[in-house]
Symmetry: C2
Subunit: 432 residues, 2 copies
């Protein structure tokens, strides 16, 4: 099958899948979990083949680590599936119910989006997580994984397809795409694909956002800030800055720029420098920073750079408002943190910073689907519509308006002697 046929089949499957009940979907997820356990030897050996090839091709150590899908990773995937089974079905939820008139009732009911196209990096565990989130939310999915993980992805996709179809999920709901050219074709198929979720490098995500008419959910940059307010507790501010910067530098929710209120800069910067240097962080600062501690000079470019490395840019600001302006100007609307003991100032920061996640007195690294209690995530969104921050099941559904009448026509509600609408809220779930 060529990719157009695959996408057409996915669209047809998505229509059927939208009406599949929770029990069938949960049975399918259970099937996947059991099959992963049962086939762990075969999965491991497929993964070993990928790892060997990657080593031969001198893939970098962090990539090799992400590519690894061993027994402990399989166990984690199984645990993830079992916890997903326990979550409520996001489909078929009555979001509002309104009587328009006696016998004319309107319901807003959640439903799947349709067909989701996902392009993701080397991690095979992402394949299991994303496809299971799509299944639970009733969406068909086209997945393009990294070529480094081809063997692992193939066996995983085979198992997931087979086991879900055996449970009654319509065939064709999941397909694995393997060629790089498939991505280009995918981006042109706005007739069959309803949403694209790219996970990869900034350049790659930006390329996708600029080259498709299909809505894209995700983020390119993750330029996150920690702002240390004049009213911050110094120890807490140091701890949060170190964690936000160094707990895992290669991820989108790590801090890249530190903003420090001028009234506290002299007190805190020396202590911060010691703590960060101790962790191997290179510091780049504005002129006022350079007057207080020894740093490399930061340029305009630094404020716009996502290092994803042990580098932090530092700027001293005159006020909370200046910090907010800096963030709204240079940030990427991802995750921004204020450290302050003053609640009113914390509230103001959270009101005015235009980002998906605004945190007070905690690390930027908490932005994550699992930590947020969403179960898992398909990605983190910096979009301004539909879904922001970590996107779990809720970001994979939309709604339909279902109106049930008894022969009602609009002519009766217009002109002279028009019937009036009652617009009376109903306390019931949708039922035909």
């Amino acid at each position: 099958m060529d990719i157009k046929q695959i996408a057409k089949k996915a669209k047809a499957a998505s229509i059927q899948l939208a009406a599949v009940g929770s029990e069938t979907k949960n049975n399918a997820l259970g099937n996947i979990a059991r099959a992963l356990e049962k086939n762990k030897a075969a999965i491991s050996s497929a993964n070993t083949a990928d790892l060997k090839k990657a080593e031969k091709e001198n893939l970098a150590a962090p990539l090799l680590k992400r590519l690894k899908f061993d027994e402990s990773k399989i166990r984690e995937a199984v645990e993830g599936l079992n916890s997903l089974i326990g979550l409520a079905d996001p489909v078929g939820v009555t979001q509002s119910a309104l009587e328009l008139d006696k016998g004319l009732e309107l319901f807003k009911v959640s439903c799947p989006i349709g067909v989701v196209g996902i392009v993701f990096e080397s991690r095979p565990d992402a394949l299991v997580q994303i496809s299971s989130l799509c299944l639970k939310s009733g969406n068909a999915v086209l997945m393009k994984g990294g070529s480094e993980a081809a063997n692992t992805n193939r066996i995983l996709a085979d198992i997931i397809s087979r086991e879900t179809v055996a449970a009654g999920i319509p065939a064709g709901w999941l397909s694995l795409l393997e060629a790089r050219s498939d991505v280009t074709e995918m981006l042109a198929m706005d007739e069959h694909i309803d949403l694209v979720i790219p996970r990869g490098s900034n350049e790659f995500v930006r390329y996708i956002m600029e080259n498709t008419n299909i809505p894209v959910l995700g983020h390119a940059d993750g330029i996150c800030h920690v702002y240390i307010d004049s009213k911050a507790d110094i120890d807490m501010a140091v701890r949060i800055t170190v964690d936000s910067k160094t707990q895992y530098v290669a991820v989108c929710n790590a801090a890249e720029t530190l903003l420090v209120h001028k009234d506290i800069a002299g007190n805190i910067l020396p202590q911060l420098k010691a703590a960060l240097t101790n962790k191997g962080v290179e510091l780049r600062g504005c002129e006022r920073t350079a007057r207080l501690i020894d740093v490399l000079p930061a340029t305009e470019k630094d404020w716009r750079t996502e290092y994803l490395d042990f580098i932090l840019s530092i700027r001293v600001v005159d006020s909370l408002e200046d910090a907010v302006d800096h963030i709204n100007r240079y940030g990427s609307r991802h995750t921004d943190v204020i450290v302050t003991a003053d609640k009113e100032r914390g509230g103001r920061f959270m009101d005015y910073v235009d980002s998906a996640c605004v945190f007070m007195n905690c690390s930027s690294r908490f932005n994550d689907g699992y930590r947020f209690g969403l179960g898992a995530e398909v990605g983190i969104s910096t979009n301004k519509i539909h879904a922001r921050g970590p996107v779990g099941l809720e970001g994979l559904v939309i709604y339909k308006w279902r109106l049930i009448g008894a022969g009602n026509i609009v002519a009766d509600y217009s002109g002279k002697d028009a019937r009036a609408f009652t617009h009376r809220p109903l306390k019931k779930d949708f039922k035909v």
Copy 2:
């Protein structure tokens, strides 16, 4: 100011406006209502100038009617503003609250989208409705109205700007664009504009969708269907078909194609033909239709055409499934209706038709923000994400994740001896 500066100013105003309280926004809406009353003579005379020019340029009668903004239209606009004041503020609503750990609390709180760009047709009442919806939902707005309504739009925009700023709304939150070239520039400003809502002809909306990286909310076609099921009540089916087709033919929620189950076609088509011909509707039918009543032949093209006129295409189908397939293939995911006395079949239709609005036993013409009890609408969306169907205040907001800690860092929640998350739902609204 050039449009880039206007957009930049709107972005800055949007940040401030996001934190403006309900009372100030409602006061501003009240100010507008009073000023419209007070200035009705000046508004009427501006509108008369537009009407005279339009008559001289031989604008079609329906367009002239839409352009008219007389005292009764002003009164309607004032009523609309007063009812909008009565609606709940959609901003600052806590959508979920979760304790991640003792003293680490996560809130999902609704907030405005930011800057909305709106391009609309000649109706000046749309300017008042759309700008007031944006204000209540805390969004800044750039509006481009039709040039036919230039004088009316200008006085309305002036009044709204002045009166809202007097009430404490940040200056620059609303701007009226007047040049056609402004639209092109607007579409390129994805840095400053967060959402575009186009209201106009299909070609125009499609052009906008294909020429911007800014998310677009709206619809191009409105190819709506009425499906008369084998189990339909014949009188009801005739009544609903006539209303869906003829109550107002020039609008997106009017029916364009009628699907009739083969088992009922022989009974109902002659009656339908009489009723529709009586209303001046031209009928185009498939071959099986033509065997039962006298119609013009329908071609493949008819199934894809939004007539917006007194024309209806008719197709006889073998089953409910065939009707669903036809709708999902040729429809525009706007509004589709089943007429049936069988609830199970009605439910199946609503499950499988992939449209924003799926109706049973009532007219397609009910798809409308006012009729749906949303107060008013900025437009009707056939998107698959964010908002579907009539879009009122709720479609103009998104949310921010607000996390409040007491110095929490992620390092404490990972590795050996990791602290566990509690993930305990909280029953409270966000408060710093």
